[in-house]
């Protein structure tokens, strides 16, 4: 497992060199310049001294990656839920323990913080951390409301510290390669973007006592979460902005309900949202957590091909061609059926393409999306490594906050649309 992670990172870092050679590619991934081979040479032998705020499952997932990273040193841990803090301390016994994040922010030994707390705490903690002069990594989604989102963005813009957000797809080699193909015209004109995330579990964590319910299962309550839109859609909506070259949608229409897990939760257990771009292209997101048959999917549909982002496969519209003899037999069969008196060919089912596609990245790890924590090979290790480099060099990865801002805004407005059941206009904000 360790070796596998190191290999992934090594492959990724090697690929940075080739990406950096192409100016066009670089304009698609400007955030990668902050961890270019030159910057890595510059930070060689140095360590980013980090504090982890929020040591739940996601916090410990990042810790596991940081413990393998030679450019990271975990010096402080903070959580007000002691069982989690104890588990984190067991992973990293030498790190100082805090139960109040403000005390951790006063610690002069901490260069940067990684915030992995419930969504409703992101804005306050990020703003405080930046004000305390700490480089900050905040888990996605950025904020619980659009007001908080704007406040976070302003706090970062007005300061001089690095801010990064847990949008790991931006550092996932297969997504980077896919976007190179999309913008290189490999699938023609982008005509649609399809995202779905299906699970079959109640999304609950075990609670030691009823008093801890809202703290442990914060994802299920409106005061602390925006449900499926901020926890799942936020990752996938970013694909749309990326594929559309930074053009943002104009409208979002949505619907949702609690139809299966009627256990006192407040957030929907199924949602569907449609985003409309100015050029008429639509991006869809659908999530149901009571059926997992189709797992997770992210597809960019083009006039000449389709890219399956999750599996790293590209399909051609011309793609699969049946052999000559099969085409002949098919035509004879169609001729017989079309002459039949009872119906024409319009009733015939239109089959999906049988094209097997081309895998454009080797050694792809396909995740079914069932984990709420993270998965090996999903870009998280690369993202956290990039943050360590930025903490050491002080270089802010370009456009990464803007990407996170938009994916959070789209998720929040999508959530609003699913609650109100109507169409919402998306403000065309220019982030300066």
């Amino acid at each position: 497992m360790n070796e596998e992670n190191n290999m992934t990172r090594k492959d990724f870092l090697a690929s940075l060199g080739s990406i950096a050679l192409g100016g066009t590619s670089l304009s698609l991934f400007p955030w990668l310049t902050a961890c270019s081979p030159e910057k890595q040479k510059q930070s060689a032998g140095e360590k980013a001294r980090l504090g982890i705020i929020g040591t739940g499952s996601r916090g410990r997932f990042h810790m596991a990656n940081l413990l393998l990273d030679p450019s990271a040193q975990i010096v402080a841990l903070c959580d007000d839920y002691l069982p989690h803090l104890d588990e984190a301390s067991a992973l990293c016994p030498e790190a100082k323990r805090y139960t109040d994040y403000r005390k951790l922010l006063e610690d002069k030994e901490v260069d940067g913080v990684i915030i992995c707390t419930p969504l409703s705490m992101h804005a306050r903690m990020t703003i405080d951390a930046l004000a305390a002069g700490k480089h900050t990594f905040c888990e996605k989604a950025m904020a619980h409301s659009t007001e908080e989102l704007d406040a976070m963005y302003r706090a970062w813009k007005e300061g001089n510290r690095v801010l990064m957000v847990g949008q790991q797809r931006l550092y996932d080699p297969k997504y980077i390669k896919a976007m190179e193909l999309v913008h290189g015209g490999a699938i023609g004109q982008v005509v649609g973007i399809r995202n779905y995330w299906y699970r079959n579990n109640d999304w609950r964590r075990e609670v030691p006592s009823p008093q801890e319910e809202r703290r442990i299962n914060w994802r299920l309550y409106n005061a602390t979460s925006r449900g499926l839109m901020t926890e799942l859609a936020c990752h996938q909506l970013q694909n749309g902005s990326w594929a559309m070259g930074g053009i943002q949608p104009q409208f979002v229409t949505g619907t949702g309900s609690i139809m299966y897990w009627k256990d006192g939760r407040e957030v929907f257990d199924n949602v569907a949202a449609i985003y409309q771009y100015p050029n008429g292209v639509h991006m869809t997101f659908e999530s149901i957590i009571s059926n997992k048959h189709f797992g997770m999917g992210e597809q960019i549909l083009g006039s000449e091909g389709t890219i399956d982002l999750v599996r790293g496969v590209m399909y051609s519209e011309a793609g699969y061609r049946r052999s000559g003899i099969r085409q002949l037999l098919g035509q004879i069969e169609q001729g017989i059926l079309s002459n039949s008196a009872f119906a024409g060919t319009s009733w015939a089912t239109e089959e999906a393409s049988q094209d097997k596609g081309i895998r454009f990245v080797d050694n792809v790890t396909v995740n079914d999306g069932a984990s709420s924590v993270g998965a090996s090979g999903d870009g998280s290790a690369e993202l956290i490594h990039a943050f360590c480099l930025s903490v050491i060099t002080g270089v802010q990865p370009e456009k990464i906050v803007e990407e996170a801002y938009w994916s959070t805004l789209l998720a929040l407005l999508g959530d609003q649309a699913t609650r109100e059941g109507g169409r919402i206009e998306i403000p065309q904000i220019i982030l300066a």
Partner: protein
């Protein structure tokens, strides 16, 4: 039950018939390759379809011959 005798002439006729059916099926495959502009190697890769089509031709031709034989027999009576 009595022994059945298959003459050398009958064997030759059936073998030639099967050969012609196979040849027709191959020609049909080549024709469809040319018509649909598919790769020539389908002559070999689609051999399964060719054999099935050849068998269908053989069955059809045999059914025709049986019909003719039956008609002739009926007329002779």
């Amino acid at each position: 039950m009595k022994d059945t005798l298959i003459t050398a002439q009958r064997k030759r006729t059936e073998l030639i018939t099967a050969g012609v059916c196979f040849l027709l099926a191959v020609l049909l495959n080549i024709g469809s390759i040319a018509y649909y502009k598919t790769p020539f190697y389908e002559v070999f890769t689609q051999i399964g379809y060719t054999l099935v089509i050849a068998a269908a031709f053989y069955v059809f031709w045999t059914a025709c011959r049986l019909l003719v034989w039956c008609c002739r027999k009926a007329l002779k009576k």
